[in-house]
């Protein structure tokens, strides 16, 4: 029991809570995205969009918090911009409706999962 409580103590900052929600939503969005490749289900599309855009919003909030508390720095700016570029590139490809480009979406989705894993890693309080 004490170990579980100690584990829950990780959620002591807003950043790790947001990052955790982000990873949960990104995972859900990724699975629904994979399902969308098989069939264009309306339910899957709604899950994918809602979770995806919520995850993007959380990412932007985390970025703002990071700049607010840690200040601007070249590497920090580069890191957050790179993550944002992955989000934007994915949205761009989906919006372009070019079927040929769709095969890369699962790779981008996988990259976003990795981005969120890193988000969780860097926000675990130490």
């Amino acid at each position: 029991m004490q170990r579980i409580l100690k584990m829950l103590g990780v959620f002591s900052t807003a950043s790790i809570v947001l990052a955790s929600f982000g990873l949960v939503l990104a995972t859900s969005s990724f699975i629904s995205g994979l399902q969308l490749v098989k069939s264009a289900s309306m339910v899957e599309r709604k899950i994918h969009r809602f979770n995806g855009f919520t995850a993007l919003t959380l990412y932007v909030i985390l970025a703002i918090l990071a700049f607010w508390y840690e200040g601007f720095g070249f590497l920090r700016l580069l890191g957050w911009s790179s993550g944002l570029c992955v989000f934007l590139l994915k949205i761009l490809i989906v919006r372009s409706k070019k079927r040929r480009a769709f095969k890369y979406l699962s790779w981008l989705g996988g990259t976003l999962i990795l981005v969120w894993l890193y988000m969780v890693y860097i926000h675990i309080p130490v």
Partner: protein, 272 residues
């Protein structure tokens, strides 16, 4: 007979310069500057410093105790000459430095040179080039200090042996948290070295040291041992379980969330 005993104790006290004759020197009440009180102090005396920001370079060259009354958050020593350490202990034994914030030095916050059997405890040595540095100093106790956000190292030992480095924090330094260089037989225990740009803890050409129960998280490299032998390294935490368990749990929750959302939306839209 009793009188003889008293006289003996008095004479021993005089000869050793300690014991009953030890005095407390108050700054700024009795002495305007801390260095003035240090100069006036005799071996064994205690210089007690009240709260305030003191722009000085302190130099301790005799076995005295330098203590703050209200702790490091309220008692700040800023280096007047930035190229010198904020607090320097030099060529003595049995000195104590406790409860200060030492900052703003392009050298070290607190430096010990040729010092033995002394104690540095409960200080903050932040925002210097080196936080706490020991050169040719042996058998000292460095305990419960914070050495964060320094330009190079949080705690640095060079040619210093048989020291105890215990329960210190060396976080967010621009190079290494703890750097043990050419130093042997030290005990490095229960320290925290997190979020340093390079290594959390580095042993360089250092032998027979005991590195136990330290925490080094989210550094570029956690513990680095180079050109060193016969060191005991055990019980240190470099990747706690939570770093592995939490992502797995969250991904699992993501899958569960997907299933819940899918079934909920199917119910709402009446899709089979």
């Amino acid at each position: 007979m009793l009188r003889l005993l008293y006289i003996s104790i008095f004479l021993i006290s005089l000869l050793t310069g300690r014991g009953a004759l030890a005095a407390d020197l108050l700054v700024p009440e009795a002495y305007k500057t801390i260095q003035g009180a240090i100069e006036a102090a005799s071996p064994g005396d205690t210089v007690l410093v009240n709260e305030g920001v003191y722009t000085e370079n302190l130099s301790i060259r005799k076995p005295i105790k330098l203590k703050s009354v209200k702790g490091p958050s309220l008692t700040v020593i800023k280096a007047a000459v930035k190229e010198e350490p904020s607090i320097l202990v030099f060529g003595t034994d049995g000195a104590v430095v406790s409860g200060f914030t030492a900052k703003g030095s392009l050298s070290s916050g607190i430096a010990l040179k040729n010092v033995s059997k002394s104690e540095v405890s409960g200080n903050n040595a932040d925002e210097n080039v080196y936080g706490i540095a020991l050169y040719d100093s042996n058998e000292n106790a460095i305990t419960g200090n914070m050495a964060d956000r320094n330009e190079y190292y949080g705690i640095y030992l060079e040619k210093s042996h048989h020291n105890t480095i215990e329960r210190n924090n060396a976080n967010r330094n621009d190079d290494k948290g703890l750097f043990i260089s050419y130093s042997n037989s030290n005990v490095i225990r229960e320290n925290t070295a997190n979020l340093n740009t390079w290594n959390g803890l580095t042993l360089w050409s250092s032998n027979d040291n005991v590195i136990v129960d330290n925490t080094a998280l989210r550094n570029m490299y956690s513990i680095v041992v180079s050109d060193s032998k016969d060191n005991e390294i055990s019980g240190n935490t470099t990747l706690p379980n939570v770093f592995l368990i939490l992502p797995v749990v969250l991904i699992y929750l993501g899958i569960v969330t997907y299933l819940i959302q899918k079934n909920a939306l199917k119910l709402v839209y009446g899709v089979q």
